[in-house]
């Protein structure tokens, strides 16, 4: 009886944990010491490369400092060291997305395309709702001329199925918004409204859905266009995932 307990104790002690560094990072962010925070976030991620939350909060701190190249370099090494960490790849993709609004118009295309590659890698490793939603939504940012909108709709349909199979989360409303937007971009307004309505039935009071359903066709064009403007920062904060559980 003693032996297994000891083994478990040894395992728990030896298991790498970034919790301490993560807490220090959060405290450093609160006190405005972002550079120190970044160091702690990186240490936490090295200990737990697949921790989505650590990576997410790291990126949000990076955005404040506009230290995009730092986070890109960090995640590049992290995924090289941990090629099975699906969430590290997801955050790596987001690190490129975070840089887009501060990039030139052609570099925006390159960053968006690179991000897609890492989102795909994340799906390949672990086909999660967040990975499908993220890649699907990313495709919608590409102008229709590049024929990627349908790919986005396909991913979002997968995400929808996944979310319908499990417990309801507040963040899942995003799939309905994005799916409708995708169909709107594909000139299928009936389908678009269908998903927005479905979403509103499930998530009554959602502002984005209500706005879309109340808008005229002209207004919708503008709403969707503004929502996918590469020059406007996309909210890549994933904290809704754990906030609304």
């Amino acid at each position: 009886m003693v032996k297994p307990f000891l083994v478990l104790l040894v395992f728990l002690t030896a298991a790498p944990s970034g919790e301490q560094d993560y807490s220090a990072a959060v405290a450093a962010v609160s006190s405005g010491n972002v550079d120190e925070a970044l160091n702690h976030f990186e240490a936490a991620l090295k200990a737990e490369p697949n921790n989505l939350r650590y990576g997410n909060d790291y990126r949000q701190a990076v955005i404040k400092e506009k230290a995009y190249d730092r986070s890109i370099a960090f995640f590049e090494k992290l995924v090289a060291d941990h090629p099975d960490a699906a969430n590290a790849f997801l955050n790596f993709g987001f690190a490129y997305v975070d840089k887009i609004p501060d990039s030139g118009s052609i570099t925006q295309v390159l960053n968006a395309n690179t991000a897609l590659g890492y989102f795909t890698k994340s799906i390949d490793l672990e086909p999660s709702w967040i990975a499908y939603y993220t890649r699907g939504n990313s495709y919608l940012f590409w102008p229709k001329i590049f024929n990627r909108t349908q790919l986005g709709i396909d991913d979002l349909q997968v995400a929808l199925k996944m979310q319908q199979a499990g417990p309801k989360l507040g963040v899942y409303v995003r799939t309905y918004i994005a799916l409708g937007d995708g169909y709107w971009k594909m000139d299928e307004p009936e389908q678009a409204r269908k998903f927005w309505k479905q979403g509103l039935e499930e998530y009554p009071g959602d502002e984005a859905l209500e706005k879309r359903l109340a808008a005229s066709n002209d207004e919708l064009g503008s709403i969707v266009s503004v929502s996918y403007d590469p020059n406007v920062r996309v909210n890549t904060d994933l904290s809704d995932l754990w906030k609304h559980q």
């Binding site: 030139g104 295309v109 229709k144 001329i145």
Partner: protein
């Protein structure tokens, strides 16, 4: 009954003032064919394996210049062509909006040789003899023609000293050192390699947002005696290696000295302030910040009548690229703020030349912008191009990596944009269709001039590989106007850089004579002011480039000739300089 009468009176009052539809007044009619100035431009056809891509990258060259080259009181036109064996054209204004082609007699058709391409043109009186000479910017060395005063020009290139090879797309004149002699600044696009005799395929921008392997600018200082020297390095302008498409000149900080705005493709524009000692300081970072846009055009004017010169830069805004143009509002402290979104001038699609002009004589500068890269088949080049752009590790500078465009369109069939300045509201309203100027040709340059001296600014639009257009301004109910042709004596003869401030009807306007701002076009050197319903000018002050100031009186609704130090002079005095 009373209420009906009141309503009728109210509606009638609104209509009389044009307040119900302020755009109703500006109208143009295209008369290029009947006027005899419709010119089919030809872009250069390259030979060899990269001909397709090179042709696509050098789709400029459709340019025009406006000036009264024979001093007969009517503005003439010079229009460029770019393919080997084609000729440029000098169109003489015979009056009544009819032009005759005097190219052969004048001897100015040449310049498109097997290894050079004509790209821009500019009239300027480099020797202050009263006759406007002509310079051609080329992919190659410049060409300088001396106006002999008898309707002919003499090619004086060989003796002028401008022998440095560059792939120039623009030429602008100004007297940067205030010595009374007009200097030249060339905007160079590619690095200085001859595209018609390639020694390497790596001639394109290395980076599509921050390229620093372009041609920059070349400053030629006028030494007098028909000689120019390369003053780029000495003047402090050699640090920019952008893919320059245009240079806009103006006294941005009101210190009496001409400053420079350089618009560049694939990377940042630059602002240089004139230090007054023959050199410039690069103030790009503090004045405008660094940008990654595709600057095509730099047009300088005081659009909001606040006494400071602003700059309008066109970029690329399309389905696949959302750069937005820049209307740099001059803050008066050597900094500028982009107000293109706020003013409604952000989106002119794939922008090229743009010019400010008061088309309805209401005292506020309107804006005409042309656009569109390549109108061909229904197939779109963009998806093909993006596949190359996203290829990992691709070298953009290498011609061999770029897919052929063949018969595909690229931002084609875009409609030109005319924005009416709504005055004190500080916004512009797009009125292209109502005004009759919403053509969908592949526009490049916009030159303004009043070709029939009726007090309304006309527009000459050049188009790449397509025919040019002459828009005759037939606006109804325009305001009063004056047009000034300034003649420098101590200052350069063309009075380039002279600043005129006019006060009328309680409003003040300021203009400077521009030496060819705006992509691929040089507008008339005459200064045109609309003053709306004001019946008199309260004050008209001239600040000459040489520094002298004078206040003059001129009659309304006429072209007046003003000689430095002598005030208004008879038109006959310019005919015999």
């Amino acid at each position: 009954m009373k209420a009906t009468l009141f309503l009728l009176f109210f509606v009638g009052t609104l209509q009389a003032a044009g307040a119900d539809d302020p755009s109703s007044q500006i109208r143009f009619v295209e008369i290029g064919q009947q006027a005899g100035v419709r010119h089919q431009h030809h872009t250069r056809r390259f030979k060899g394996p990269y001909s397709d891509v090179l042709g696509m990258f050098t789709s400029g060259g459709a340019a025009s210049a406006v000036a009264d080259y024979d001093n007969d009181g009517l503005e003439d036109l010079f229009v460029t062509d770019s393919d080997q064996g084609t000729t440029n054209h000098l169109f003489h204004n015979d009056g009544n909006l009819v032009f005759s082609d005097r190219t052969e007699k004048a001897g100015v058709g040449g310049g498109n040789d097997p290894k050079t391409i004509v790209a821009d043109a500019l009239f300027f009186d480099y020797d202050n003899d009263g006759w406007k000479d002509l310079v051609l910017a080329r992919f190659g060395t410049p060409v300088l023609f001396h106006n002999q005063g008898d309707g002919t020009f003499k090619d004086v290139t060989a003796s002028c000293g401008m022998n440095k090879f560059a792939n120039s797309l623009s030429v602008t004149t100004f007297d940067y050192d205030n010595d009374g002699l007009l200097d030249l600044i060339f905007g160079n696009y590619f690095p200085p390699v001859n595209l018609l005799d390639l020694s390497t395929t790596k001639v394109l921008p290395r980076d599509l947002d921050n390229a620093t392997n372009g041609g920059g600018v070349t400053l030629w200082r006028n030494l007098g005696g028909g000689r120019f020297e390369d003053a780029t390095e000495k003047a402090g302008l050699a640090n920019g290696h952008g893919w320059t498409l245009d240079c806009g000149i103006g006294d941005f900080n009101n210190d009496g000295l001409p400053d420079i705005y350089v618009a560049s493709d694939y990377g940042t524009d630059r602002v240089y302030f004139n230090k007054g000692d023959g050199t410039f300081r690069d103030a790009s970072q503090t004045a405008i910040g660094y940008d990654t846009k595709k600057g095509m055009n730099a047009e300088v004017a005081d659009y909001d009548n606040d006494g400071f010169l602003d700059v309008y830069v066109t970029n690329i805004t399309d389905e696949y690229m959302k750069e937005c143009n820049m209307l740099w509002h001059n803050n008066g402290d050597e900094t500028f703020t982009d107000v293109s979104r706020e003013t409604g001038t952000c989106d002119t699609l794939w922008g090229w030349g743009a010019k400010f002009g008061d088309f309805d004589n209401d005292g506020w500068l309107d804006l005409f912008a042309v656009n569109g890269l390549r109108s061909a088949s229904d197939d779109n080049y963009i998806p093909v191009l993006v596949e190359m752009i996203i290829r990992p590790g691709v070298d953009f500078s290498d011609l061999s990596n770029w897919p052929a465009i063949k018969d595909m369109s690229w931002s084609g069939y875009q409609k030109s944009k005319l924005f009416q300045n709504l005055g004190k509201m500080n916004i512009f309203k797009e009125i292209s269709a109502q005004a009759g100027v919403d053509n969908d040709l592949d526009g490049r340059g916009v030159a303004l001039g009043d070709f029939d001296n009726d007090g309304l600014l006309d527009i000459y639009q050049t188009n790449a590989d397509q025919p040019s257009l002459l828009y005759h301004n037939v606006s109804s109910r325009p305001g009063h106007w004056i047009t000034l042709q300034l003649i420098g004596t101590k200052s350069n003869r063309d009075a380039i850089g002279a600043r005129v401030t006019l006060t009328a009807g309680g409003a003040r306007q300021m203009r400077e004579i521009s030496g060819g701002d705006g992509y691929s076009a040089q507008s008339s050197y005459r200064l045109h002011f609309g003053i709306g319903s004001a019946e008199k000018i309260d004050e008209l002050r001239i600040r000459w480039p040489g520094g002298g100031e004078e206040t003059i009186s001129v009659p309304l609704d006429r072209v007046s000739y003003v000689r430095e130090g002598s005030g208004v002079v008879d038109v006959s005095t310019i005919r015999k300089p």
